[in-house]
Each structure stands twice: as C-alpha cells, then as structure tokens.
C-alpha cells in the first residue's frame, strides 16, 4: 500500500499546484513583484492543512500504519547552510519564478520550456553534491552534515 498512497498524495499535490496556478512562473513573479498577493493563500492554506495533519499525527496517533514510523514534526537542524541555501534559492526563485514542486507540475500542464529549468535544477543539485562530496571526503573529521 505504500506506493499507491504516495501516488495518490502526489496526484492531489500536483492537481493543487495546477489549480493554484503556481505551476505558471508568471503567477509567481506577479506575486514577488507585488502585483497579485494570491500566492499567500497557497502557502498559508497549504501549511495550515499540512500542519493540522502533523499536529494530529504527533499528538493523537501512535505509529504510521504503512511504515511503522513514529510521527514527528519536520525539524531540521539550524546552521549557516540554512541561510546560505535560502539566499541562493531566493535569487533563483526571483529570477525564474520556478521552484521544484511547481516545476514538476508545470510539465504536467504541458509547459515544455520548464524542462530547461528542471535541467538547471539537476545541474545545480549535481554541482553542489560533487562539491560537498569532495569536502566531506577531504576532511573526514568534519564531514558535511545535513
């Protein structure tokens, strides 16, 4: 059942990205340029709905039925990378109007030029991965942590 549930979740997620029009970079750029604040509702309502599920999982339920994993909030450790990465992502989002989930959904609506952006994402992820692999291999004592 694990894979079918992931697929159903992905279908709903992608449908939502299409309906919200976030799959159009123009809509994201209009938001960032203060011409249409609608995206605040996408991020706001989306995080409230997801947040409700997180709260139910953590506070009410015991273990996930399909994996046996304990429910936990999505917490990542804070370090300088969080800020550095946020700045680099912000510049990229501001230039292109594209982020990962919305880019995948954009393929689904037939927006084939977005494949350029997705190729760029793989290039960027590959470059940082090679760089961080070297850094980690070169100094085993202070391996790059996530």
């Amino acid at each position: 059942m694990f894979l079918p549930v992931v697929v159903v979740g992905g279908l709903i997620f992608g449908f939502g990205l299409g309906l919200s029009r976030m799959a159009r970079p123009e809509v994201v750029l209009d938001f960032l340029q203060f011409e249409d604040f609608g995206l605040l509702f996408v991020l706001g309502v989306g995080s409230v709905v997801a947040g409700t599920a997180f709260a139910i999982g953590v506070n009410v339920l015991d273990r996930a039925p399909l994996t046996g994993r304990a429910y936990a909030r999505r917490l990542k450790s804070f370090d300088r990378n969080v800020l550095t990465g946020g700045v680099i992502f912000g510049v990229g989002w501001g230039i292109s109007g594209i982020c990962p989930g919305a880019a995948y959904a954009s393929v689904g609506i037939g927006n084939y030029p977005v494949l350029i952006a997705i190729s760029g994402m793989f290039l960027g992820a590959y470059a940082q991965g090679i760089w961080r692999s070297r850094t980690a291999d070169g100094s085993a004592a202070s391996a790059a942590s996530d």
Binding site: L43, A64, T84, V87, S96, Q128
Partner: protein, 161 residues
C-alpha cells in the same frame, strides 16, 4: 473616502483558486504523512535521483538510496496530477513566456540553494511551516525576502517577461 488599497488591487485574480489549490497541496502532503509519517518535500528528488547515476558520496547516503524509488513515483504523480487538472480545466498546453536563460540560471540556483538549505517551498514552506519549525521559518523568511528583492530588481532592469 476611497480606501487606499482595495481587495481587488491586492487580489486581481480573486482568491478561491489560490486557497483551494493550497488546500489540495496541503491535503496531498497530509495523506502521505498520515499514512507513512514521512514529510514529503519536492526537492530531495533531485539528489536522490542523481544517486542512480553518480558514485559521489553525497548522493549515495542511505536515506537517499532508501527513498529514491518512491520519490520518482511521487514526482511522476505530481506531473500526472497537474495534467489531470489541466485537462479538466481546459488549461493544457499553456507555455511560459519567461526567457530560457532566466529558467536555466534560476533553475541552477534553485538546485543549489534548496539542497544546501535543506528544503524548498514544499519541504520548508509547507511541511516545515506546518510543523512550526524554527529552522524552516527562518529559511522561508530568507528565500521569500531575497526572491522579492531579486524579482523587483529584474523587473526594474526592464527584463520582461
């Protein structure tokens, strides 16, 4: 007296599609989370998929190897879900006018930034903010602020679309 800013000025396209779309994005996340306890983000797919073709240690960490198959399924489902939307709402075949170099340069920076920063608009923005996680709140505030400044500078430079 006329109000300085009206609702129609702030939301020229209304809000229902944004709110309903956001609710479904949250619901998709919720379905996966409640069934599996996994907070699914969209950007880890980039690194975990690279583990199929690269020997580099960064991509071959256990958590990427273990999740790379379902992340491919998740991503293909996002594509399919958006296609269902587009066909149902007569939106299929729309293409962006944003220039190719903006898509390419922006995409590269997004690829670097989301991976160094531990997440993207769905990982930090939906799952992290939904978890009221301090790290995610800081990351979202950072990328949102920087993206606004960047987009306004690009616009001021006369680049359009």
């Amino acid at each position: 007296m006329e109000p300085l800013v009206t609702f129609a000025d702030l939301f020229p396209n209304g809000v229902w599609r944004y709110a309903a779309g956001g609710a479904l994005i949250g619901l998709g996340t919720a379905v996966i989370y409640l069934a599996t306890a996994i907070p699914a983000g969209a950007s880890t797919f980039l690194e975990s998929t690279l583990s199929y073709i690269s020997e580099a240690s960064r991509f071959n960490r256990a958590k990427y190897i273990a999740s790379r198959d379902w992340r491919v399924a998740f991503t293909l489902s996002i594509v399919a879900g958006a296609a269902v939307y587009a066909l149902a709402f007569g939106d299929f075949g729309w293409t962006t006018e944003v220039s190719w170099w903006r898509l390419l340069v922006g995409g590269v920076l997004v690829g670097v930034g989301t991976r160094i920063g531990k997440g993207c608009t769905s990982g930090h923005g939906i799952c992290g903010v939904g978890s009221v996680a301090p790290t995610s709140l800081v990351n979202v505030a950072t990328f949102l602020g920087v993206a606004i400044v960047t987009a306004q500078l690009v616009q001021a430079a006369g680049v359009s679309p």
